[in-house]
Symmetry: C2
Subunit: 418 residues, 2 copies
């Protein structure tokens, strides 16, 4: 067993929450902003103070290495991300990154050697809200290259991706530059559940079996704008009439019929947006999720056909395009078992579960065995300044990570490894 | 019969359409902008060139007077407005204003005296899109004062109402300032129908019986934002689920059950507006119209109860407030008859009809007998750059106005007047 310092970890979470702090107790530390750079700097300084190696790759993924007995073995990677949503919580990402760093410090405090090196990672831009898509850092790490299209991306605040990335890299000259991607023994990530089920069940640890697939649609329904007062029903081609009828039916069908399905409209707007004019055009996004790729296809098909039918009924046209499509992923059983054992070693209950959100682990799992440890968050709230994790749950999550780290690092270099 | 110059009138419409012209053939000449000032200036210059008196009141309502035989009689007012929607058409308002000015010039050309003076008016801010509410000019004229709350209004483009009004008044120093409101013998307004019924019936003149009532609601439904992927159905408090269910039901009930009802959602939005987050709050506007005030009450009640029920079902809260409430108006029969007779004198068919839109005539009707003459517009389109009126219908509308002007001006000073 590797003892960790829970007080140190909770104090660290406080310290990082001060970087980009919002008035309501959350953080706004979107990727590649000054706040994001500040959090990278603080983590790098803490690491250098402990004598760890600090390096970064061309995607501004930040790594902190504690050497293992066999320097030739691929390292065990542990971590998460430090960027946040614009009105985000202080635990989403930071918890996994700082829990991983706590494990590294605890190994150092205890003078415990590991077979392979243990490397803490903070992935760049998991959230994807300032620059889309999310998980850019882990996606590029797994793919071995930066997709050409990303260089020209422009942030919601007008900043250029290439410029912001270069400034971020330059803001940490102490970090040695390494090429993108390297062999990894395994990857472990602690994260808040971002849902209510662990809290509701009173279980402090979720062993994540995999991540459901996510698909996003951009929907545009076009009718004809006309005067609200003078245009009788038979003359109307009202796209919002069509869209609300379709969405109302879909809300009533998709999730009620399938408890594993998720169906969310996060954005909706009408043009020209005048109180006394029938809209010319309405747009919405659709976020669909399911662990079964075939069911995702079926939900997309249902969505397209319902919107198409209602649009036709109102004399409107429809355009629907996919803006994002991520297939479900399944984490290796050996790693799930190791986490379950680590929880038992810590004498805490754990439960296997699916992740509703996607995470960097999904992308790392494409090139190395990956797994995740979930901890409860209050009321299931996340992407919200009110996001909160009990300090005791923070400590439990880190404890399980610590024991799993010891166990999995010990399998490095063996044929029977994870 | 008073002959008018149809070619001059159609050429004038062209000339005014050049002020604030948009790329798609419409106009953007919102109230109190440079374009609006330019249109006022052109009309004033044309009037001064003909020797008419030009004056304005503190609301920037613009008046052009041709004196009558008896200078002590209240004048017959004829006109409309020169401001437009941001992507408006070239006939909405301009037609009625320029047709009225054509009548004044035709009287002058023919050397025809009228019993009372005839005054052309261009009301300020009929559209109400840059500064709300619409019909500010005629509303203040009828009310005899400028509501205190208007002075501090800020435009959608950030400009202050008081400043823009002062600049507009100052931009026409040739116009003599007069106090707000004066006795009026009667008011006549030519306007495009802004609906499809005259065109569909092949009838060039609508004699407007009255204007249906309009009521606007601001609706806010508040739930709880949460992660689209991690939040199962039973944990959701989704305000857009509630709102689309309610609206879908209302679209299917209000207008299908009552051909005189109008029900329009022109604006809808969701906050925070993230593709992968359940909205915290959704807002929409509701525009309800009916000629019967009791039915308006019933439609509002139905709207409130449906939204309330669906919000409760989704665990959401609702706030609904009225942002505008205009009771229906009925124009005096004597004026309707005079317009019907004028159409017969012109040998054109006419039909009595309700106005779906509100107009300055509604407010003037509170202090003087008012009436309106509608002409067809193509496909019923208005508040749209593609708005179009056949030149022959322009001429017919003006002809009917000219004959009605002669007839109604002749009744000035009589007990049996309109």
């Amino acid at each position: 067993m590797l003892p960790i310092d829970g007080n140190r970890l909770n104090a660290r979470l406080e310290a990082f929450a001060a970087i980009g702090a919002t008035a309501k107790g959350g953080v706004n530390r979107q990727a590649l902003t000054e706040g994001d750079r500040g959090a990278r700097r603080l983590l790098a300084e803490l690491a250098l103070a402990r004598g760890f190696e600090v390096f970064q790759d061309p995607m501004a993924n930040l790594f902190i290495r504690r050497e293992g007995r066999d320097v030739t073995l691929p390292p065990l990677l542990i971590g998460s991300h430090l960027d946040s949503q614009p009105a985000g919580g202080r635990f989403d990402g930071a918890l996994g990154t700082l829990a991983a760093f706590e494990v590294l410090e605890s190994l150092e405090d205890a003078g415990r050697a590991t077979e392979c090196a243990v490397v803490v990672v903070s992935w760049m831009n998991e959230e994807g809200c300032r620059f889309s898509p999310g998980c850019m850092g882990s996606m590029a790490f797994a793919g071995g290259e930066i997709p050409q299209a990303w260089h020209g991306k422009v942030a919601t605040d007008g900043a250029g991706f290439g410029e912001e990335l270069a400034l971020t890299l330059a803001s940490l000259p102490e970090a040695v530059m390494v090429p993108l991607g390297f062999p990894v023994h395994a990857y472990l990530e602690v994260h808040i559940e971002q849902g209510p089920s662990l809290e509701a069940a009173g279980i402090p640890i979720g062993v994540v079996k995999g991540i459901q697939g996510t698909r996003w649609l951009d929907v545009t329904v076009t009718g004809q704008t006309a005067h609200a007062g003078t245009t009788g029903l038979s003359w109307r081609r009202d796209p919002l009439h069509a869209l609300t009828a379709a969405l109302s039916g879909l809300y009533g069908a998709v999730m009620p019929d399938d408890p594993d399905a998720r169906f969310t409209i996060g954005r909706i707007s009408a043009e020209p947006g005048s109180v006394n004019a029938i809209p010319e055009e309405v747009r919405c996004t659709v976020d669909m999720r399911h662990p079964d790729p075939q069911r995702l296809d079926e939900i997309e098909e249902l969505t397209r056909s319902r919107i198409g039918q209602e649009a036709e009924r109102q004399g409107c046209l429809v355009q629907i395009s996919r803006s994002f499509d991520m297939p479900p992923c399944v984490f290796p059983e050996a790693l799930q078992k190791a986490i379950g054992q680590a929880a038992r070693d810590c004498k805490v209950e754990s439960v296997p579960m699916l992740s509703g959100a996607f995470h960097d682990a999904l992308f790392v799992n494409r090139v190395a065995p990956a797994a995740m440890i979930f901890v409860p968050c209050r009321d299931g709230l996340s992407h919200n300044e009110a996001e909160y994790v009990e300090p005791s749950d923070v400590v439990t999550g880190c404890n399980v990570l610590a024991q799993a780290t010891l166990a999995i690092a010990a399998t490095a270099g063996t044929k029977a490894g994870p």
